[in-house]
């Protein structure tokens, strides 16, 4: 059992309830006497509120209450920002849940209606009369940083929320001495995360006891409790947050949102359960977006293709307000990763966090790392073209050599372990790279435009040592926790602080327990998502649940094993140091036939009839695991595309990847994470993009207008792996949740640029819609 369960592609224990329609998500919940809330959102991107008249709405059938900012006065504190970057001049603008005198994006909440039914609540929204005085708006971070741009917040001059800088090595000298300097202007377009479950909150406040229970679609219930307590004033011990089944997050369910606090306020004022569930268009307007970078990048290199320096300026759109973790995304999770898989001796970056009249921006799958990987990997391909080298060869000349216990890079990080050339070699082999190059050459002779795009990446995940969190301004810890409890029958409960929502930890964590303690995974129930019955934890994002929470669990299991060994030794009348353990059995060395099973030990520990002196009853242990370092998964991806020069259509023909997340607990789950991640990144390259007009109206306001990848436009994803354990993780594992997204956007970008290179096309803005590709080809022809 021990060796078989770790690494075994067992079925997911989550799935039976999910495939029968019996799983309950937040919006599936109904409580007796429940009311429904609907939010009145600003139709203007920027406006003063002259007055609000809710009298007609209050008269409407079924309406119980209408609240505006005046009703929240003294009841709701501002929505907090929790990543206060030091040494960056960070200013946090006031972020009220209900807009006071100014609205700053289309979707800002002006009022809430609470009614007996959802229809009645929505009908009454139309009866609220708001007198707006529209103001000029700005939506591009680059334009919002200009001196004459409309100003969003009085205390944020120039709309600049922060200016973060990174300097490592002698960048001036690197560029002064370079044989080759390449420049690239990149727009990482704004993306809408599109978790298939929209956000929802059900709040139930009991006035008699002052207790508030909140069901919410969150990725991190303990953070939501912490923040909700600070905003609503309900003490943490009276506030219970439950994340029931959660339908995907991808970063958009990290933040605590105004609508959540408003729903809590409604229940608090009315003493009845209140549910709010957003529509998809509300989700597009008001649930956080991702990316939105304008990047100016320069790369310095020798004529042999050795990269000697990187210099970048980034204007990072923050939206109208700073969302919970937003400042850390384009800085810590982006700038510190600019050395990538290479030893680059000099790196400098300036990141300007800029407010615009748009939806707040937060983490979105990959969060900062895709934007860093993109910069580097597209320039590495440019360098290969410039020098007439194969892109694989340029990468080989720059890779950090394989290492298994720490490698520092100039940005200040120390990667844990890596074998970047090993991953690329395996990729080239599995993909048949040389053959593909030959096919490409033949196709070109026949007037067909095939392109190959490589991307090699390393990412930072498993956030992270809490001491580092404090040093970089993160207003929380980043450890994870686990409690393991053996019942008298030998069945096991595992309670974790993290909160998986699709990643499958109910299965993989049972596999960890099974491997460590020799019980069947079917005998292990993993409990998560309820702050009243799980230990504190910081949540599921940044590919950290298995990387940090899994470590907490492994350490806890080993504590259980140590205690069980003491009890077993007592039962066998042997000395503890003479005991051995294998596959859930404790025995005196050399006498495996006379063994006590973990189940027998659990029974004795629970009845405690015959315990060793000084040993407490029960077989239970807990751990708060604070990792000594981050983990650094890596890999190499290849996209193969064909571009039709007549129509500009891009056909993604093959996608091959090699990812290294260390030893895999469940390869089937790892493969699924890679599939989904890759497709999300492909979406950015080929189809997706949030578009605002000049007035700040969201033109991509519904699924009809925002192109999410669909099954008929995708090939099979060919997934391979290498295994390089993390030296500091108790199980050697790294994260895999974001890997696919980090590599795939630039892999597809490089493939398309490779395809159209013979046509003289230098640059195309993402997403690669047929029109854009076609126009770029026409422009190149004319030039």
């Amino acid at each position: 059992m021990t060796t078989r369960m770790f690494g075994s592609a067992i079925r997911r224990r989550e799935d039976p309830r999910l495939i029968t329609g019996s799983a309950l998500y937040t919006d599936d919940m109904t409580l007796p006497g429940m009311l429904h809330a609907a939010m009145l959102r600003s139709p203007y991107a920027h406006a003063r509120i002259r007055s609000i008249d809710a009298s007609a709405a209050l008269e409407a059938e079924g309406v119980v209450a209408v609240y505006t900012s005046a009703d929240a006065e003294g009841e709701l504190n501002p929505v907090p920002c929790a990543w206060l970057l030091p040494n960056s001049g960070l200013v946090v603008a006031d972020y009220p849940s209900l807009a006071k005198d100014t609205v700053r994006y289309v979707g800002d909440i002006v009022a809430v209606v609470v009614a007996e039914t959802r229809y009645q609540a929505y009908d009454a929204l139309d009866l609220i009369d708001v007198d707006y005085d529209p103001l000029p708006a700005v939506t591009s971070p680059e334009q919002a940083a200009q001196p004459d741009a409309p100003q969003l917040h009085e205390n944020v001059p120039g709309n600049q929320a922060f200016h973060w800088t990174l300097t490592g090595g002698d960048v001036e000298a690197a560029f002064a001495n370079a044989d080759v300097v390449l420049h690239e202007h990149i727009v990482q377009q704004r993306l809408i995360p599109n978790a298939m479950e929209t956000r929802a909150t059900l709040a139930h406040y009991i006035q008699a006891s002052g207790e508030l229970t909140v069901w919410n679609t969150t990725q991190n219930p303990h953070i939501l409790r912490f923040v909700s307590s600070a905003v609503t004033g309900v003490p943490e011990d009276r506030l219970r947050v439950i994340a029931p089944e959660v339908g995907g997050g991808f970063g958009s369910k990290i933040a605590a949102y105004p609508a959540d606090f408003i729903t809590m306020l409604c229940s608090k004022k009315l003493g009845r359960p209140v549910k709010w569930a957003e529509t998809r268009s509300e989700n597009y307007q008001a649930t956080t977006h991702g990316r939105d970078h304008v990047q100016e990048v320069e790369l310095a290199a020798t004529k042999d293709g050795k990269i000697t320096g990187l210099r970048a300026k980034v204007w990072s759109g923050m939206g109208a307000y700073l969302s919970l973790a937003a400042p850390g995304i384009p800085t810590i999770l982006h700038g510190l990763m600019l050395s990538g898989v290479y030893d680059i001796p000099a790196i400098q970056e300036d990141v300007y966090g800029i407010h615009t009249n748009t939806t707040p921006v937060e983490a979105y799958r990959g969060a900062g790392r895709p934007e860093a990987t993109f910069m580097l990997e597209c320039l590495v391909d440019r360098l290969a073209k410039e020098l007439g080298l194969d892109p694989a060869e340029v990468r080989r000349r720059n890779f950090i050599p394989a290492f298994d216990n720490g490698h520092p890079v100039v940005t200040g990080l120390t990667y844990d372990s890596g074998n970047y050339q090993g991953a690329l070699d395996k990729l080239l082999d599995k993909a048949g790279y040389q053959d593909l190059r030959r096919q490409q050459a033949e196709a070109r002779e026949n007037g067909r435009y095939l392109g190959l795009g490589l991307a090699t990446y390393v990412e930072i995940c498993g956030l992270g040592p809490s001491q580092v969190a404090g040093a970089i301004g993160f207003q929380g810890g980043l450890w994870e926790s686990a409690i393991v409890r053996f019942h008298p029958s030998g069945k096991v409960h595992v309670f974790i602080g993290a909160s998986p929502h699709g990643q499958g930890e109910e299965t993989t964590f049972a596999q960890i327990i099974s491997s460590e303690l020799g019980v069947s995974p079917d005998d292990v129930k993993v409990v998560h998502g309820d702050t009243d019955n799980t230990p504190m934890g910081w949540g599921t994002y940044g590919s950290r649940t298995t990387a940090v929470g899994g470590a907490a669990l492994a350490v806890t299991a080993r504590k259980i094993r140590d205690k069980a060994k003491i009890i077993a030794a007592h039962l066998l009348e042997a000395a503890v140091e003479d005991m051995d353990y294998e596959d859930g059995k404790f025995f005196v060395k050399g006498s495996p036939d006379q063994a006590k099973t973990i189940q027998e030990v659990a029974l004795m520990a629970n009845v405690a009839w015959n315990m060793p002196a000084g040993v407490e009853a029960g077989l239970e242990a807990s751990t708060f695991y604070d990792p000594p370092n981050f983990v650094y998964p890596f890999g190499a991806h290849l996209a193969v595309v064909e571009v039709d020069p007549e129509t500009g259509q891009v056909d993604l023909q093959r996608y091959v990847c090699v990812d290294d997340c260390g030893p895999q607990i469940n390869p089937m789950i790892v493969e699924g994470q890679v599939h989904g991640g890759v497709v999300q990144g492909v979406g950015q390259a080929l189809w997706e993009g949030a578009v605002y007009d000049e007035d700040g109206q969201l033109l991509t306001g519904a699924m009809l207008d925002y192109a999410i990848p669909r099954a008929d436009r995708l090939p099979n994803i060919e997934v391979h792996s290498t295994v390089t354990p993390s030296p500091h993780h108790p199980l050697g594992v790294k994260g895999i949740g974001e890997a696919g997204t980090i590599a795939s956007t630039v892999a597809v970008y490089n493939a398309v640029m490779d395809a159209v290179a013979p046509l003289g096309v230098q640059r195309i803005a993402m997403p690669f819609t047929p029109e854009r590709v076609w126009r770029a080809i026409q422009d190149a022809k004319e030039a």
Binding site: R11, R12, E14, D15, P16, R17, L18, I19, T20, G21, S22, A23, L24, Y25, D27, D28, T30, Y119, P193, N194, A195, M196, E197, T198, E245, V246, G247, G248, F250, T279, R280, H501, G502, Q503, G504, M668, I669, E671, G672, H675, G676, G677, V678, V679, Q680, A702, M703, L704, I708, P709, R710, A711, D712, R713, L714, N716, I717, G740
Partner: protein, 161 residues
């Protein structure tokens, strides 16, 4: 005065069901809120994501786009009716075996949609499966394992037929 609600009778998952609904209520809302069948989800409300699909008189329909009153006299299958009383449908079985889901919110839609496909075409090619399932959105899986699960279920159903 006209009554606010209409009386509707329909056969849902093989059972005759009666309910009262407002003329403007969608079939999805009635399934979820009146009949306690919360398997179908509202993913978009405008027919783009397929999370709400049901089979109605042999046709796949978005229950968010149909008014509940229009369902009078029809036969409807939701995800709750895909399995038999005792055992899972081969599609559900293959979704389990192939891990064709992650967060699970879109899964009821995919199962119902795939069932409608296999009801019509017991031996679909991969491009046919992909084209059919292009009406359903999934953000977690990248579709690969879903396509595989539908292929395997089709194969199993042909063998059992």
């Amino acid at each position: 005065m006209m009554p606010k609600k209409s009386y509707v009778q329909a056969v849902i998952n093989g059972e005759s069901r009666e309910f009262l609904c407002e003329p403007r209520q969608t079939l999805l809302e009635v399934l979820r809120e009146e009949l306690g069948l919360t398997g179908a989800k509202e993913g978009c409300g405008d027919g783009n994501c397929g999370a709400c699909v049901v089979i109605q008189d042999g046709r796949l329909v978005c229950s968010c786009l149909e008014l509940a009153v229009e369902s009078a006299g029809t036969e409807i299958t939701t995800v709750e009716g895909v399995a038999g009383r005792q055992e899972l449908h081969p599609l559900q079985q293959c979704f389990l075996e192939d891990a064709a889901l992650q967060c699970g919110i879109c899964t009821p839609g995919f199962l119902v949609s795939a069932k409608a496909l296999l009801d019509k075409n017991p031996d679909p090619s991969e491009p046919e499966i992909r084209l059919w399932l292009a009406n359903n959105l999934c953000r977690c899986t990248g579709y690969d394992k879903i396509v595989r699960a539908v292929e395997h279920a089709a194969e199993r159903m042909r063998q059992e037929a």
